[in-house]
Symmetry: C2
Subunit: 236 residues, 2 copies
DNA sequence: GGCCCGTTTTGCGCTACCGCAAACACCAGG
DNA sequence: CCTGGTGTTTGCGGTAGCGCAAAACGGGCC
């Protein structure tokens, strides 16, 4: 089994308050694996046999309705955990996880979780924090979907992506993994057509530069204004 | 300080795997309080000095935007915890809690939490489960808001309320706390006008019986059909 | 019993956004 | 260099549901 270097993960919030020796013991239970772009890591509804920590790359978690519609639950950034079904008492994965870029993950068997949190209670506390944070983010998203119109929601979504996974360029901030209009639509509760129209509009105003699965925020500042303005659009 | 009877709360999921003596110790740190109908328990943005366990009554947690719009995050039923800001690492309450009926709660000081989970790790694990469940419910709600139209969302919302807090009557299921059209609108991301129109329609079809802050599902079964039908409305 | 206030109902435009469809751009592979 | 396929753009109706306004209802309180 591949050895995992503790120094790479010791600083993660998940392991806050965990001694180096404990961390070593925790990591011994994990194996690492590589998933290539566009391959599924687990499928919604499958037995939750493992949970994951993303080391490198980007993963999209998406939920599908019985009728086949999808929404993007979140994009996982390096250092974050995902597939924690057991922590929340679910036997099956509630969403599908797919690598949107070549990705490297640590994998623990779900069965190890109860033992781990018993031996290292800090793990449970840390996980509680991150799950709680995600819960708050979900509530924010619900609030946005209830009260804002599409353009503002897209602005917020892109700003969040830029914050989480933005690469600074001299002429703006690029979202550093492939993302389609469809993906953005599924994050904001609209259609790819509407997303396309709005991004086109922004592009002609010089706010963004975008192409096939690629988005660069040229004027993040002005997009913040868009995101925060009232519904009346500031008609003067 | 009022003594709390352990037998009333011992069976709650929060205390699963906690010994009676430990439970006793945990409860010694709490005090109980009564909130009358329509009084605020805490306000969004206030210092999170306490966390709560609802013993009796019903509490609405709502989030307000900078522009004053509100959404209902959830209704708290007896036996559930709320105001767990510290568990998720927040110093301030992210929402406002208001008693919608005369309510009795247990109150712990936030400062007790770290000590409690250190002494009783099961608490952290149990809380993680409930927070995880709420996270899943939030995702379901986002999915619904993204893919369903208003009538179906209202159907789902009422069915959930009925399940959580429904009182069985001989002629249907009554939601056993006061709830307005406005509240339902804020749960489903629509306006009170639209809710009113839809409930009026249902009433004339005999699906519900409703009045001032009062809703009885007369035909839960048919409402399930409404909730689950496809967008095409089953046009024949 | 009568008054007052919060809730609910309902009508009527309006518009943001969807849904379909067709053309278009771009990348990969042969 | 051509060709197929996936992602994107754009036009053009159609409509679900919003927003405003006004009326009706109902229940509590004096």
């Amino acid at each position: 089994m591949a050895k995992v270097d503790t120094s790479l993960v010791a600083h993660l919030p998940l392991f806050a308050g965990v001694t180096p020796e404990a961390l070593d013991e925790i990591l011994r239970e994990a194996r690492s694996a590589r998933f290539s772009k566009n391959s599924a890591i687990f499928e919604q509804g499958a037995d939750a046999q493992s949970f994951f920590l993303l080391l490198h790359g980007h993963v999209r978690a998406a939920k599908t309705t019985p009728t086949g519609e999808q929404i993007v639950v979140r994009y996982v950034a390096p250092g974050e955990t995902f597939g924690l079904a057991m922590a929340i008492g679910a036997a099956r994965y509630p969403a599908t996880a797919m690598a949107v870029d070549d990705s490297v993950v640590l994998i623990w068997p779900t069965s190890a979780w109860p033992r781990l949190i018993e031996r290292f209670p800090a793990l449970a506390a840390n996980t509680l924090q991150t799950v709680g944070t995600r819960l708050q983010e979900s509530h924010t998203r619900i609030l946005e979907m209830s009260t804002q119109q599409v353009e503002q929601r897209i602005a917020h979504a892109l700003l969040r992506l830029a914050k989480q996974s933005g690469k600074k360029l001299d002429h703006g901030i690029e979202i550093d993994f492939p993302i389609s209009r469809q993906d953005i639509a599924q994050m904001t509760g609209t259609t790819l057509h509407t997303v396309s129209r709005i991004l086109s509009g922004w592009e002609s105003q010089g706010l963004v530069e975008s192409g096939r699965q690629r988005i660069i925020l040229r004027e993040p500042h002005k997009i913040v204004v868009l995101a925060e303005r009232n519904a009346d659009g500031g008609a003067a």
